[in-house]
């Protein structure tokens, strides 16, 4: 039984329209124009909306801008070190302390984006280097399962970190189906597609008290790589990729494995790194940090990050010079 507004009779065949065709035509034009205005408005305004709403977005934007401008040395001749990674880096390393400790020898800066994995950074670093960034050393902080993951940050990755030249490779590496691949392609050029997830999150933070805690619990972090053989196979494939990147752009690249409570096979990954020519820093053995140094079992708390930052500072001070430069 169709409603009285339907243009069909009960048998589904067209009958005379009940409203004037002219009116409906105007409605279509008004709707299409309205949708076009909304789309154009969102496309133009979304970066401003996002930076206005989100402190995180402002940080990422500032860090990206600074990272793009990095040369191998500062004006006073100190080598530059760029730390890249995700929330494990943000919460695991106290940047102010690290910066102050190393200031006499190195200029340390950070580019961190939450929920990113290996592919985000492999393509992200490539794009950064293509755009003229040239730090002396890039330290990529990833847990070993993140090194093996095929997960990316979706449309945001496609917009911010993937260059269009890398699109076919990104599709292959992330094992994307055609529909998702096409969405990545659109997102590469669209501010709105890239930002809409973050804007939605910020709107929900305004609407739902304690939404951040809820989001941390319900967010989809992608499939975890639990199988050690898969993890090591992927590491074996990906560490040479990082080495090639280092060689191509003449930048030292180091993989930093953050502390974990459980066995993460970082020692084996470290050995693979030695064979591949990419230093893998495991500054804390799996399980060495007790649970009370973690905020939630994954991210370090203030005390944990203080200890880890001190170890990282020592490592940078003593080991960076040992790393062979890229060609």
């Amino acid at each position: 039984m169709h409603s009285s507004t339907s243009s069909f009779d009960a048998g589904g065949l067209p009958v005379a329209a009940t409203r004037s065709t002219m009116t409906a035509r105007k409605g279509i034009i008004a709707l299409l124009l309205g949708l076009a205005v909304i789309l154009l408005g969102l496309e133009t305004a979304s970066p401003f909306i996002l930076t206005h709403l989100s402190r995180i977005e402002r940080r990422v934007e500032n860090e990206t801008r600074d990272a793009r401008a990095l040369g191998p040395f500062t004006a006073d001749g100190r080598p530059t070190v760029l730390l890249t990674g995700n929330s494990l880096l943000i919460e695991g390393v106290q940047m102010d302390a690290l910066h102050d400790t190393l200031a006499p020898q190195y200029e340390v800066s950070r580019l961190a984006i939450e929920q990113t994995h290996y592919l985000d950074w492999y393509f992200g670093i490539r794009r950064l280097l293509e755009q003229g960034s040239h730090p002396s050393v890039i330290i990529l902080s990833l847990a070993t399962d993140q090194l093996a993951s095929r997960f990316t940050l979706g449309e945001s990755f496609a917009h911010r970190q993937m260059s269009i030249r890398d699109f076919p490779l990104a599709v292959r590496e992330a094992n994307l189906d055609k529909t998702t691949a096409s969405t990545y392609l659109f997102a590469h050029w669209s501010n709105w597609l890239a930002d809409k997830g973050f804007i939605r999150q910020d709107v929900l933070i305004l609407l739902v008290p304690n939404f951040r805690d809820l989001a941390a619990r319900i967010a989809d972090h992608g499939p975890h790589v639990n199988d050690p053989s898969v993890l090591l196979r992927m590491a074996q494939q990906r560490l040479p990729e990082l080495h090639d990147l280092s060689e191509t752009y003449g930048v030292k690249i180091v993989l930093l494995v953050p502390p974990t409570l459980h066995q993460d096979h970082s020692q084996e990954v470290q050995e693979l790194g030695e064979n591949s020519g990419v230093p893998v820093w495991v500054l804390v053995s799996p399980g060495e940090f007790s649970r009370d140094l973690f905020r939630d079992g994954f991210h370090l708390n203030r005390q944990g990050s203080q200890i880890f930052t001190e170890r990282l500072a020592d490592q940078i001070r003593t080991k960076i010079g040992d790393i062979p430069p890229g060609k």
């Binding site: 339907s6 243009s7 067209p14 009116t23 409906a24 409605g27 189906d177 055609k178 529909t179 809409k196």
Partner: protein, 467 residues
């Protein structure tokens, strides 16, 4: 191609624009090619399977119509049913039955080694198979003549808006529309655009957000099941699956209307049903009426006494459950609905006044919760997981994030409930359907804005794509 992705809207825009530039015959040819492209986008091998299945039924239907001998006609009907259900059975149920047989033999301590094949389920196979079966059966019973044009028949089966997840179109409804020239009608076009926007709202805003809570609850992110976790998971899934599937149906109907076709209504405020029978008149109407007409009634319906009626109800719902997927969870889901329908019939038989004993809103709440209970089996990965979830009814826990989770769920489910209450009272097919043009434009743009700001950030496949 998912309906909520940019590539689909590029595809749709190009198809609609080219379609209206062509003459009638070329429109059908063009739409058939576009529908094949739409389907082959997933995997061209699935396309070959679908075309082969379509060709077989096209020729069998003509042969049935041209044959006078009832035995040959019957043999052709059986041949078509065997071919259709064999294809469906192999791709959808082979591993299920092999695994079930292996489990049963193992339980009896009989050593067995059964083949387990890596079979990929072709998208939409259950939908187009049911449509083909309906066509063959209708031709056999001379309810409609067979299509003598493969283009027309192929388009009836594969018209892309309904191809992957329905609504399952009746031959008597869609085939005549395919066979006759269609004229652009601004009313239908405008309605179609609004249906697409409302469908996207249901899918991207309601379903995809509720999915986050449902996935967290069923996936263990809130800890082991307790009463709050069970409530969160079940309510969230109830609104997720409703938003998801009714959203898909609205988008499908909207796309069809942009090309001058009409698809049957697939949902009519199901959570406002006041009996289980009423629920099945409102939920997935194209499937429930198909099951009624091509399974329940041929089994005898309610014509051979009470016991056979209950048997027919149970069989229909069990098979309806199995249609959804090769898992015992779906069988139990269908069984619960079948048992509910039978119990309801038993309780109300000859006593129509019993339906009036409780206020209608109480009956609606009771039916909603019965349906929610059955959704646990539909959503759970296995019977064991469903049972674990149900055991949560005996446990209590409270976590700091629960208030935010309930508020989040309320924000994304209450709007759909309000929409349904409005549609129920107005009798409209979609919001503001009977209003003048200005409020409808405003409604469409409001939908677009809400989708833009609150739509989930990544496209999720529609749940019914897997069926």
């Amino acid at each position: 191609m998912l309906f909520d992705t940019p590539i689909f809207f590029v595809f749709l825009s190009v198809v609609v624009a080219v379609y209206w530039c062509l003459g009638f015959r070329n429109q059908n040819r063009f739409l058939l090619v576009a529908s094949y492209l739409f389907y082959g986008w997933w995997d061209w091998r699935f396309l070959c399977l679908m075309i082969a299945s379509t060709i077989i039924d096209y020729f069998i239907a003509i042969k049935i119509a041209d044959t006078k001998d009832p035995r040959i006609r019957r043999a052709l009907l059986v041949l078509s049913l065997v071919v259709n259900f064999s294809i469906l059975g192999f791709f959808k149920y082979f591993n299920f039955f092999a695994d079930s047989a292996f489990t049963a033999l193992s339980a009896l301590k009989i050593p067995a080694s059964l083949p387990f094949l890596r079979i990929i389920l072709p998208p939409g196979i259950s939908f187009y198979t049911f449509q083909e079966v309906a066509y063959i059966v209708d031709v056999y019973y001379e309810r409609l003549p067979p299509s003598r044009s493969f283009i027309d028949y192929g388009l009836f089966i594969t018209l892309f808006p309904h191809l992957i997840a329905g609504p399952i179109q009746r031959p008597s409804h869609l085939l005549p529309q395919v066979q006759k020239p269609r004229q652009w009608d601004s009313e239908k076009g405008f309605d179609g655009m609004l249906l697409i926007l409302e469908g996207l709202f249901r899918k991207c805003v309601i379903a995809d957000n509720c999915a986050l809570i449902a996935n967290a609850a069923f996936g263990g992110a809130f800890g082991r099941p307790t009463i709050p976790v069970l409530l969160l998971g079940t309510y969230a899934f109830a609104w997720q699956i409703y938003g998801d599937f009714s959203g898909y149906s609205d988008i499908a109907r909207g796309c069809a209307q942009l090309m001058g076709f009409h698809f049957m209504v697939n949902f009519r405020q199901p959570y406002l049903a006041d009996s289980i029978q009423d629920f099945w008149r409102r939920w997935h109407i194209s499937l429930s009426t198909w099951l009624r007409d091509y399974l329940y009634i041929p089994l005898g319906g309610n014509r051979f006494g009470e016991r056979k009626t209950y048997r027919n109800l149970m069989l229909t719902m069990l098979l309806g459950g199995l249609w959804h997927g090769a898992n015992w969870t779906f069988v139990v889901w269908g069984g619960l609905h079948g048992a509910g329908l039978a119990a309801e019939r038993k309780l109300t038989r000859g006593k129509p006044e019993t339906r009036g004993q409780l206020p209608r809103w109480i009956k609606r709440i009771l039916i909603f919760h019965f349906v929610c209970l059955t959704w646990i089996f539909f959503r759970a990965a296995s019977l064991r997981s469903a049972w674990e979830m149900l055991k949560g009814l005996g446990r209590w826990s409270w976590k700091p994030e629960f208030p935010a989770a309930f508020l989040f769920l309320a924000i994304f489910s209450i709007p759909l409930l309000l929409v349904d209450l409005y549609l129920e009272s107005s009798g409209d097919e979609y919001c503001f359907a009977s209003a003048t043009v200005q409020p409808r434009v405003a409604f469409g743009l409001a939908c677009a804005l809400v989708i833009a700001f609150l739509g989930a950030n990544q496209a999720n496949a529609f749940i019914y794509f897997q069926f």
